[in-house]
C-alpha cells in the first residue's frame, strides 16, 4: 500500500487529484437535487480540467515563466530569442497557462448565465429542487 502510494500516486499526484475532482463534479451534476449545487459541481468540473492542463506545463525545478535578463543591445533580435531558448528548461511551460486563462473567463460567463437561468426558473416555479420542478412541469396544461 505504502509502496503503491510512493511509486504510483506520488509522482503523478496532480493527475490523481484532477480525476477525483472531475468525478466529484460529475457526481454532483448527476446526483444532486438542487440546481445551485449542480452549477457548483459544474464549476468544480471545470477547475479540474484546468488543473490537468496546468499540470502539463510543470517541470521539475522550474520557476515562473518570466525572463529576468535579456542583454539590452540584443533585445528583440534572433540572438535574444535563442538565448532565452537556451534557458527554457528552467521555466514552466507558459502555453497551457495562457490557454487556461481564456477558459477561466469563459467559465465565469457560463456560471453567470446558469445562475441567471436559475433565478428565472425560481420566479416561474417558486422552487429550485429538481424533483419538485419536474412535478410542477408535468402538472402544467399541454398548450403552455
Amino acid at each position: 500500500m505504502v509502496e503503491f502510494f510512493l511509486n504510483t500516486v506520488k509522482p503523478n499526484f496532480n493527475y490523481w487529484v484532477y480525476v477525483i475532482l472531475m468525478m466529484v463534479g460529475l457526481w454532483s451534476l448527476i446526483a444532486k437535487n438542487n440546481l445551485i449545487k449542480k452549477i457548483m459541481g459544474l464549476a468544480i468540473f471545470q477547475t479540474a480540467i484546468i488543473l490537468f492542463y496546468v499540470s502539463l506545463g510543470v517541470k521539475d525545478g522550474a520557476t515562473i515563466p518570466v525572463l529576468e535578463q535579456v542583454p539590452v543591445e540584443a533585445a528583440g533580435t534572433v540572438a535574444a530569442a535563442s538565448t532565452a531558448g537556451a534557458f527554457a528548461d528552467g521555466f514552466a511551460n507558459p502555453v497551457p497557462h495562457v490557454l487556461m486563462l481564456t477558459a477561466i473567463v469563459v467559465g465565469v460567463a457560463t456560471l453567470g448565465v446558469a445562475l441567471a437561468l436559475c433565478q428565472t426558473i425560481f420566479k416561474e416555479f417558486d422552487t429550485l429542487e429538481e424533483d419538485e420542478l419536474l412535478r410542477k412541469i408535468k402538472a402544467l396544461p399541454d398548450d403552455v
Binding site: 487529484v17 466529484v24 477547475t47 497557462h97 486563462l101 429550485l128 429542487e129
Partner: protein, 81 residues
C-alpha cells in the same frame, strides 16, 4: 513545483470540494466554494502559473462568489441535499 505544498493544497482541495457540495445551507456552501477558489489560486501560484493565479483570485474566488450569493438571496437559502 514544491511537492509538500502541492500535496497539502491538493488534499485540502478535495476536502473543500466535497464539503461545499454536501452542506445543506447554500450560503455556507457558497463561502466554502470561495475557500475552494482561493486554495486553487494558491495551487496555480505554487505550480508557476502566476497569471492564471491572479485571474482565478479575482474571477474564480471573487466574482463567482458574488454571483452565487446574489442568486441565493434572490431565491431560497435551504437546499434538500
Amino acid at each position: 513545483m514544491i511537492l509538500p505544498f502541492d500535496i497539502i493544497i491538493l488534499v485540502f482541495l478535495i476536502v473543500a470540494a466535497v464539503i461545499a457540495l454536501n452542506v445543506k445551507d447554500l450560503l455556507s456552501s457558497a463561502m466554502i466554494f470561495a475557500i475552494y477558489g482561493f486554495l486553487i489560486c494558491l495551487l496555480w501560484a505554487e505550480m508557476g502559473a502566476v497569471d492564471v493565479a491572479f485571474t482565478e483570485a479575482t474571477v474564480g474566488a471573487g466574482i463567482s462568489t458574488v454571483l452565487f450569493i446574489a442568486t441565493i438571496l434572490n431565491t431560497r437559502r435551504r437546499s434538500s441535499d
